[in-house]
Amino acid sequence: MAGSGVSAPAAGLDASVEVTVGALHLDVSLEVPPNEIVALLGPNGAGKTTLLRVLAGLEPLGRGRVLLDGDVLEDAGRVRLPPERRPIGMVFQEHLLFPHLSALDNVAFGLRSRGVSRAAARDRAADWLARMGLSDRCAARPHQLSGGQAQRVALARALAVEPRLLLLDEPLAALDASSRVEIRRQLAATLESFTGVQLLVTHEPLEAMALADRLIVLEEGRVVQAGSPAELGARPRSRYVADLVGVNLFRGRGVGNQVALPEGECLVVAEAAPGDVFAMVHPRAVSLHRQVPEGTPRNVWTGDVESLDVEGDRVRVRVRGRIPIVSEVTAAAVSDLDLGVGRRVWVSVKASSVSVYPA
């Protein structure tokens, strides 16, 4: 079949999805080749889960179509395969294991539903559980499993049917922090060996960066940015992404060597940047002082310390002032400067530390 047409169908997922659910209007186009792990990131209500549900066939498409390895899963108004006829595997946020079935029968469920005999299905399910390191938990009911074990059973259940599209909806969200790191490592290893298309929904940037090759950021139903974690970190294009990677982001108009901010303030930058621009400042490039700093042309203003967050040996200091900004300093600097909430400080940012790119 493949290759017999005028052009060979593209392998992987090719979806353009437009759907309105409640107040959310989702309008997203996606192309994901096999073997690539894509993470959908975004704040709550951005449409990440809705997108997964549409791809799974649990939610009807308003407009657009969904192709997988060239096969039409859905073409709005024309074709619509129900979930049970799509070659998919889905891992849900709260695992959703069948409470009345053992771990083994949970994993065997998909195979049984697809016509595999009871004995063969159980054999293969046992293999999957062994691969997940859960051979001794075959007979356990879901309520007897720990969060991490349940997550692995859910993953085994989704993979056992050998799907071509794997959809993971916040697979680690239901886990406590202590087991999350270990499970994430295991999940990464399992996903590595999976050859189909993989889509992962998360609102945890660390999870996304640890598991995914490419990030797609959704906000209010639209893709605001897509790229590798490094690309997103270098040039965030929304407040959400900036917060995600932990940098200061401003949007304004470039006029000469300045970027005019909407509040009437302006930042001095190194190079002229005409038009609508983003100005990004890494918190480490934001210096704090007790007195007026001296030296080369800089952006200097005063502000009050709003909050202090310790992250390892660094401290993120949020300063309220003419231009609200976050500075990252060492713990030693905090004591040197005697920083505390409400303390007045001088803020300085070198013009060369502001990176400017078109909006």
Binding site: A56, L96, P99, G110
Partner: protein, 249 residues
């Protein structure tokens, strides 16, 4: 006041147990007319429960899962027999299934079947009165099932019937059991609709409650013995449902 209310419930039961002819209990139970009434009751209430399950599960499903105009009306009609005086139910059944009734006419002409005053009529009367209890219990069960589990099953390749059979039904099993028990107990005690629609023929339509009523005139001891049997059945039902009704408050 609470003590008075408790006394009000307890006193008649104590009276029943107090007056029981314990010495002749075995003999009364062994008597043919008592055994006939008991076995007829057991048979009809069990068949009525089975019929309630066969028709009630789809009805409960429709009531709990679908949205269509008239759903509320259908639900009200389903509940109606619970509040309708049973004797009215009996009259209505007679008018529907009687030889000149809406359905009865047709049954008589097409198949030569006459329903009223047969054992089948007892089953129909009991089902009419008891099925609502089953439907309401199971409907609540269907509503409490996490529908995301059904979605998970469909993403695993299960067609709707498989989802229903392998996920939904097992999850509502406690409701099915509770509904069946309550339904059976109600069918066992049915009196008004039965005597109106099925009459009072020993061995054919004379169920235990009917027998109790008749024996009270002629042989009160036997009536008490049968009452004790029904009381024991009620207690057993209560015991079976204790987790559901008595446990969690």
């Amino acid at each position: 006041m609470a003590a008075l209310a408790a006394l009000f419930f307890v006193a008649p039961l104590v009276g029943l147990v107090w007056r029981a002819p314990w010495s002749s209990l075995g003999r009364e139970l062994a008597s043919r007319e008592v055994r006939d009434a008991l076995s007829l009751s057991l048979l009809t209430s069990t068949v009525a429960t089975a019929a309630s399950a066969v028709f009630g599960i789809p009805l409960a499903w429709v009531l709990s899962r679908s949205e269509f105009p008239g759903r509320r009306l259908l639900r009200a009609l389903t509940i109606l027999p619970m509040v309708l005086p049973p004797v009215v139910g009996g009259v209505a059944l007679l008018l529907a299934f009687g030889r000149n009734g809406l359905l009865g006419q047709w049954l008589d002409r097409a198949f030569g079947i006459t329903v009223p005053f047969t054992t089948a009529a007892v089953v129909i009367a009991e089902t009419f009165v008891a099925m609502p209890f089953f439907v309401l219990t199971v409907e609540a069960g269907f509503r409490s099932v996490d529908q995301r589990l059904e979605e998970a099953a469909s993403t695993l390749g299960a067609v709707r019937w498989t989802v229903f059979r392998r996920v939904t039904l097992p999850l509502v099993r406690p409701s099915l059991a509770a509904g069946a028990v309550v339904c059976w107990a109600r069918a066992l005690g049915e009196f008004g609709a039965t005597i109106t629609f099925a009459g009072n023929f020993p061995g054919r339509t004379q169920t235990t409650p009917l027998k109790v009523y008749l024996l009270l005139e002629s042989r009160p001891e036997a009536a008490i013995v049968l009452s004790l049997v029904l009381l024991a059945a009620s207690l057993a039902v209560l015991l079976g449902l204790r987790d559901r009704w008595l446990g969690a408050v």
